[in-house]
Symmetry: C2
Subunit: 330 residues, 2 copies
Amino acid sequence: MIRNIIFIFLSIIFLGCQEQSQNKIAIVIHGGAGTMQKENMTPELEQAYLLKLEEAVRVGYDILKDGGSSKEAVEKTIHIMENSPLFNAGHGAVLTSDGTAELDASFMDGETLNAGAVAGITNVKNPISAAIAVMEKSPYVLLSSKGAEEFASDIGLEIVPNSYFITERRQNQLKNIQDKNEVSFYDSYIKESKYGTVGCVALDINGNISAGTSTGGRSNKKWGRLGDVPVIGAGTYADNQCCGISATGWGEFFIRNVVSYDIAALVNYKKLNIKEASRIALNKVKDLGGDGGVIVLDKNGDVSMDFNTAGMYRAYINNEGELTVKIYND
Amino acid sequence: MIRNIIFIFLSIIFLGCQEQSQNKIAIVIHGGAGTMQKENMTPELEQAYLLKLEEAVRVGYDILKDGGSSKEAVEKTIHIMENSPLFNAGHGAVLTSDGTAELDASFMDGETLNAGAVAGITNVKNPISAAIAVMEKSPYVLLSSKGAEEFASDIGLEIVPNSYFITERRQNQLKNIQDKNEVSFYDSYIKESKYGTVGCVALDINGNISAGTSTGGRSNKKWGRLGDVPVIGAGTYADNQCCGISATGWGEFFIRNVVSYDIAALVNYKKLNIKEASRIALNKVKDLGGDGGVIVLDKNGDVSMDFNTAGMYRAYINNEGELTVKIYND
């Protein structure tokens, strides 16, 4: 009898400890920061964004809930946004000055600090998968242009014609910019078309944080311009000991400020929380004349979604399964 | 009489203050970190490296001494190394798996935090000048491949055939690697050929710090591989409020650790000096399995040249005009 009581007592303690050691899961996404304003948005378009953001974040959350890895959650979540014409990534990406799509993506694994990225690719259906493949199936971190496409094809990723990425909306956007004979980078047409990058950060049940970002870059870009997305430390960063980050915005300023790694450094070295760190990093971007946003998820499952533009397409699901989806600054 | 004495007295104070406010100047360079060992080096080759490093660092120092900008000092110093077949940059760069040269370079201006970089270019004689031109003459920070070459040609930089970069030494090196049918990245042939990147950091009389790095990347590289050099924050970083950094080594690890910006963050956020910060950053690289070196110059003109390889081609001239040139770990 006493042995039974002791056994039950120990079992309760054991189960309690298991509960304790159960890591939190959480996922956060962005679909780009920009000048979107409620008065310029139709109810239908707004609804389409909200639904797609919810669909994307739920795909990743369900993977995490089933015990899947943060890597898989990030990849599958970003696929939803890459495959949607709403965002500036994959199908529906903005166009270069030649009217073609040139895509960049990056991924970082917070457990191993391993990373992969592709820059300036034109025919891989899901650039985020190419970035992950660079990490897993090559001895490199960053592959570019034709070489990256050859790699993606060699390892069997889905290859599509460049026309797959091109939508009428982006063609009109490009025409508008080119008709205006781009004189200023502060031009509102350019501002509107500069953003829309997608990104995701997830924390899985094993405490692993992954971060990924995918983009078509900047409308009317030329000369093989690369932004912050393929630059580990600028557009993407992840470290289990700290947090994961994905950025969106005026890429040049995010490169110059090494925004994603700066947030991690502020958390690690100055012991700031992720909201304070994000604000400081975005203020530095603003001080130089740039703007954009960042999503951050720390090792405790806490989320920050900050931006200094009019809005940022964004969503998260926390450890309690609570969903938040937002567009504007509210 | 009293007025004259007062005038002379004030003049002495004024001149003293001028002397006081005169900023220090200093310059530091590297020509790559690697497995070079004294017993494998001929006296003639050793002498050639020492003389070329001295020539390069003196070119930049003379510019600084004449009141020139740190930007000009960095550019002209790197030209000397890019034009020399001794280093893995410009003429004498290592070759891709196809036997061609693909060059990367980056530059950062510590006063404005502006930056420029080129990745995977094959026909611009001095890639460091292309990086500076991206910063000064385009709205972008990072240009790649054919687009970057078009830009360089458009703005009138010197264009050369790819054969200009190719030397017999590098062709033999590539053949050795390919004959050994590259199986391990830890292979000594690959280790030897992986390094040789050149870099320079300078502090001018106005307190402006500039940093630049130029490389042919990694021997036998393929798939449009880019290393840390075109990645601001990894291979190059500069901030007048802190320091300037140029890195050399196994680029993938320098990207994953955001090495250059990490050193600046350790100085800014943790108040470490540049020697402590360099050591920590290189230890992180080592922990992941990589190696290499960094040169750092802070706003006071203090210099750090640290590495965790057998040696690093390196030199500096401090504010007193004292020259140091070294190769091995001594």
